[in-house]
Symmetry: C2
């Protein structure tokens, strides 16, 4: 969800819309776009709920020329106290929503602000969700393989390999997380 991303970015420093979008691209990279068509409505919503405030960065609007078509100044967005609470709440979330395709990447991007335990639980949740999906597809593929043309087959197999790759990636990450939190009670 965009909401988390916005809260996470604004937690570092106040920003205006355009910058926010640049940061979004820089932070999420390949993985997700978030156009203005989502950004501005989201900002509006968040302001209305009270997570953020917006204020003029440009005070120089004054009585200049235009009663109509007023000059639009930069609008700077800033976290409120409630916004910070909300961010903490979202960062602590390790339920199904945090390992959905669309949400996981955003959560991951803000892992440095996330509790180590929660990190592991999110990574594991994501992994088992992917494994489930993989097994589902594998089963269905085994059943219908014969009936499928080569293109459909190749698509499926490419998809399967991608999922596999991500599972392996997650496994590495989980191991790293574990070895970093060396308050090991269970490990012999």
């Amino acid at each position: 969800m965009l909401e988390l991303a916005v809260l996470g970015l604004l937690h570092e420093s106040p920003l205006h819309g355009y910058e926010l979008r640049q940061r979004l691209k820089a932070t999420l990279g390949t993985f997700r776009a978030f156009s203005y068509g989502s950004l501005y409505p989201t900002l509006r919503r968040m302001r209305d709920t009270g997570w953020i405030t917006e204020d003029e960065g440009d005070a120089e609007v004054v009585a200049g020329a235009p009663p109509l078509t007023g000059r639009r100044g930069k609008v700077v967005y800033r976290l409120t106290a409630e916004g910070k609470e909300r961010l903490q709440e979202l960062l602590a979330e390790a339920g199904p929503s945090s390992w959905e395709d669309e949400t996981f990447g955003v959560h991951f991007a803000f892992f440095s602000q996330t509790d180590p335990e929660v990190r592991v639980r999110i990574l594991e949740g994501r992994r088992s969700r992917l494994e489930e999906r993989r097994e589902g597809v594998r089963a269905s593929l085994a059943r219908t393989r014969a009936r499928l043309d080569s293109y459909t087959l190749q698509l499926q197999e490419h998809g399967l390999e991608s999922v596999d790759r991500e599972v392996r990636w997650l496994t590495e990450l989980i191991e790293t997380e574990r070895s970093q939190s060396n308050t090991g009670t269970t490990q012999p």
Copy 2:
């Protein structure tokens, strides 16, 4: 787009909603879901436009019990002549829309119904779009690398590798396509 997928599937045989969804899952695998929340509205829209017709599979509705809460019979969807035309039109499309993330997979899934030349153009279009994106992310990454925390960095790099993988996959596919259409005028 769901429209193409529906047309492609109905071209093989008439189906009702539930089957259609099963086929969708079997055909697209990991790559895309398409819930009923999209399916039924889309079918409605397509019927209204005239690409498909819907008719009762179950004639056994009759005057049984319920004037209210009428028993719902299966609804079988079938391509019209216009629908077939529309399918051909969409299959021939090799513009930017066919190499978008969401659309490409659907196009690919129906490649066996697609003209070989169009296939290559779609694959190449997809590839160059991915290469563009990759270079964009790489550039931005090189610029901001120092400022990013390790998680963001890992996310970016994982994404980059995924893109790379897909590019390699596409390259293989393109080569296969080329070598199969051996009406070589240019190749010495």
